[in-house]
């Protein structure tokens, strides 16, 4: 259950529309089964009251939409930002990707988003409705007479289990209480991989990446990937390709993508959420974050606007490329 209710958000949006603060609202709209929620732009009270939803399945990070929408929208856009979304929001501002003046950001607290696959693993397929408003999540399927009561914590998405911050780093207005930066265990999985032998790691990633179908969902959902022209779409870049025609292509794509967002990735986890093949892509990005934290000092992309990312910075006594492996002796 989320702390700020759907009704509160709708009322807020309606009032900001009514007093002319904003001309449209970027929010979530409901789908067929209570969990298939789509980002949508609302411009009037009726559609807000009818379609706006806010529940445990509103995972989509809106920040990226602001790049295109602020260019098109007359007037200000109201955007509701979960704590993790605010980091992406700031990062995009750091990169001058949209005009801050055209956005009215309302921070909303987030209790974590649910992973529908985890829900289905518990309740089975054939979901006809999900009620997230109670203490527990009530999942009704066509195969059972009574809804199954599920602990929201047991179906949290991976990225929410390892939530890095409940603090909003950007907003014009905050609803509910402000949270704190969390000392999460998000690097544990990376550390586990680091502790493996190179052969094990190679097998692990070969297995994961071989599932890649190059649908580009990770890239297209990524709030750091807002390039006007992506190198993978640009025939002149030398890396353009449409298919995972060879195991090299998969690695190339994911290495380059991770490198391009290194220092810019806020670890929002959209890449892994949207991957239809369930590849843990966030681990690549987290690996870069972990390395940069360890080698160049703690840095959280998006924590503040205008900060200088580790890869566009240096000190004269940085460690040597050969030294990054020091202390990682599992396989020396």
């Amino acid at each position: 259950m989320q702390k700020v209710s759907q009704q509160q958000l709708i009322d807020k949006a309606v009032s900001l529309l009514a007093d002319g603060t904003v001309s449209c609202v970027l929010g979530w709209t409901k789908g067929e089964f209570d969990y298939d929620i789509t980002p949508a732009l609302f411009t009037d009270e009726a559609s807000l009251r009818q379609g706006f939803v806010w529940n445990d399945f509103c995972g989509a990070n809106f920040s990226k939409y602001l790049v295109a929408k602020t260019r098109k929208c007359e007037g200000k856009i109201l955007v509701f930002l979960k704590p993790c979304d605010t980091y992406s929001f700031n990062q995009l501002l750091t990169e001058h990707r949209f005009d801050r003046e055209k956005v009215y950001a309302v921070g909303i607290p987030c209790e974590g988003m649910a992973d529908i696959d985890k829900v289905k693993a518990i309740c089975g397929d054939g979901i006809s409705s999900i009620d997230c408003n109670g203490e527990k999540m009530a999942v009704q399927t066509i195969y059972e007479d009574a809804p199954v009561q599920v602990d929201a914590s047991s179906v949290l998405a991976e990225r929410c289990i390892n939530c890095k911050s409940k603090k909003h780093v950007a907003y014009d207005e905050l609803m509910g209480d402000e949270g704190d930066v969390i000392d999460s265990a998000r690097f544990d999985e990376v550390a586990k991989l680091e502790a493996m032998t190179p052969d094990e790691r190679f097998t692990f990633w070969q297995n994961e990446l071989s599932r890649c179908i190059r649908c580009n969902a990770c890239r297209d959902a990524c709030p750091a990937c807002t390039c006007e022209v992506c190198v993978f779409n640009n025939p002149k870049s030398g890396v353009e390709n449409k298919s995972p025609a060879n195991s090299f292509e998969e690695k190339m794509f994911h290495i380059i993508r991770a490198f391009h967002v290194a220092g810019r990735c806020t670890d929002c986890g959209e890449c892994s959420r949207v991957c239809p093949q369930n590849i843990p892509l966030h681990l690549l990005n987290r690996k870069f974050i972990k390395d940069m934290n360890e080698c160049y000092g703690e840095y959280q992309a998006g924590a503040e606007v205008g900060s200088r990312a580790p890869l566009v910075n240096y000190t004269t006594d940085d460690l040597e490329p050969g030294e990054v492996f020091n202390g990682r002796d599992s396989d020396a």
Partner: protein
């Protein structure tokens, strides 16, 4: 009709695999079902369906068409085609079986795609009827009966047994092959199960979805509908829906410079991509709205127009569960179909 015990399936698979490659859904490392070549120990997945459709068997994501070997300024053309061998795909659901018909109409009409045709010729499709459909299923909308799948051989699974029925000469041959491991039987158990499934299908949330509003000849009616803007506004332009779709059949032909020559290959393309059908003059569909519209107009209007009213959607529900922003053909049909 023949049957075998579920316990005997492993032996049966081994038997089939000894004479031709057998592919079936197994649980992959991420816990999701995926088609894999059978090998000792491979278990048939309990999942309803695979994430990727079985269209790969006939229309793989990438396929080399030919090679040019270059040395300095000389070029030699190399045919890379391999002689196809017989294979079986086991466990195909009714929706996916239907998708092959849709692909056939594209690849087997003149000019015939010989790569596709060769695979199709050598492949035997063994379908399995559904018993526990998902909320995302809407095959019924397109007249598909999940309890009576087509294919060269149709199967029904009960608690303990698997029932087999051949529908084509290729299917007969297959039943012949497995005859030593199966026994002749009646169809009572199958019928009972079909009835049960039919009852479940009626309870599905999308059971009432109708495609009647769409079909050939309705281009003008739908093309300029204002709803497209709203429907497409959240679309990220990724290719997930097209790549998990069993009926999407667009591909691009590209040349890959290997350093020693060029491989000409084809690979799936997606009408959702901004470079889709990019030509010398540029792109034909410049906005995501146009690209988004193209996909659904193609499924619901253009394809039926050219194919006797056959929709090129089979209601498998993959795009419903996989779209990163949960926009899909059902939402489009409901919005435009006037529900």
């Amino acid at each position: 009709m023949r049957k075998c015990s579920l316990d005997a399936l492993q032996a049966l698979f081994a038997h089939v695999n000894a004479s031709m490659a057998l592919y079936l859904p197994v649980d992959g490392s991420d816990g999701k079902a995926v088609y894999q070549k059978w090998s000792e120990g491979a278990r048939w997945s309990h999942a309803l369906n695979t994430v990727r459709s079985p269209k790969d068997f006939f229309f793989p994501q990438t396929e080399d068409l030919m090679k040019f070997k270059t040395a300095g300024k000389s070029i030699e053309i190399v045919d890379v085609r391999n002689a196809a061998e017989d294979f079986v795909i086991f466990g195909v659901r009714a929706c996916d079986v239907k998708s092959f018909e849709i692909l056939d109409r594209v690849f087997l009409t003149d000019p015939v795609d010989s790569f596709y045709a060769s695979r199709r010729e050598h492949g035997t499709i063994v379908s399995v009827a559904c018993t526990r459909p998902s909320e995302t299923c809407f095959c019924g909308t397109f007249g598909i009966d999940a309890a009576s799948p087509a294919g060269d051989v149709s199967c029904w699974k009960t608690e303990t047994e698997l029932f087999w029925q051949a529908n084509t000469p290729k299917g007969e041959a297959f039943l012949q092959l497995i005859a030593p491991l199966t026994e002749e039987c009646g169809n009572e158990a199958v019928q009972a199960q079909q009835e049960k499934t039919a009852a479940v299908m009626k309870k599905l949330p999308l059971a009432e979805l109708k495609a009647d509003a769409f079909g050939g000849g309705k281009t003008k009616e739908f093309f300029d509908r204002p709803e497209w803007s709203e429907l497409s506004q959240a679309c990220l332009g990724c290719g997930t829906c097209t790549f998990v779709c069993p009926t999407c059949q667009c591909y691009d032909i590209k040349d890959f410079n290997t350093g020693n020559g060029v491989i000409r290959f084809r690979c799936w393309d997606s009408c959702m991509y901004s470079e889709f059908t990019k030509m010398a003059h540029g792109n034909s569909r410049l906005s995501q709205k146009e690209r988004f519209r193209q996909r659904f107009m193609h499924k619901l209007v253009y394809y039926p127009e050219n194919n006797d009213g056959l929709f090129s959607c089979v209601g498998c529900g993959r795009c419903l569960s996989k779209c990163p922003i949960s926009m899909n053909i059902v939402k489009v049909m409901k919005k435009l179909g006037g529900e």
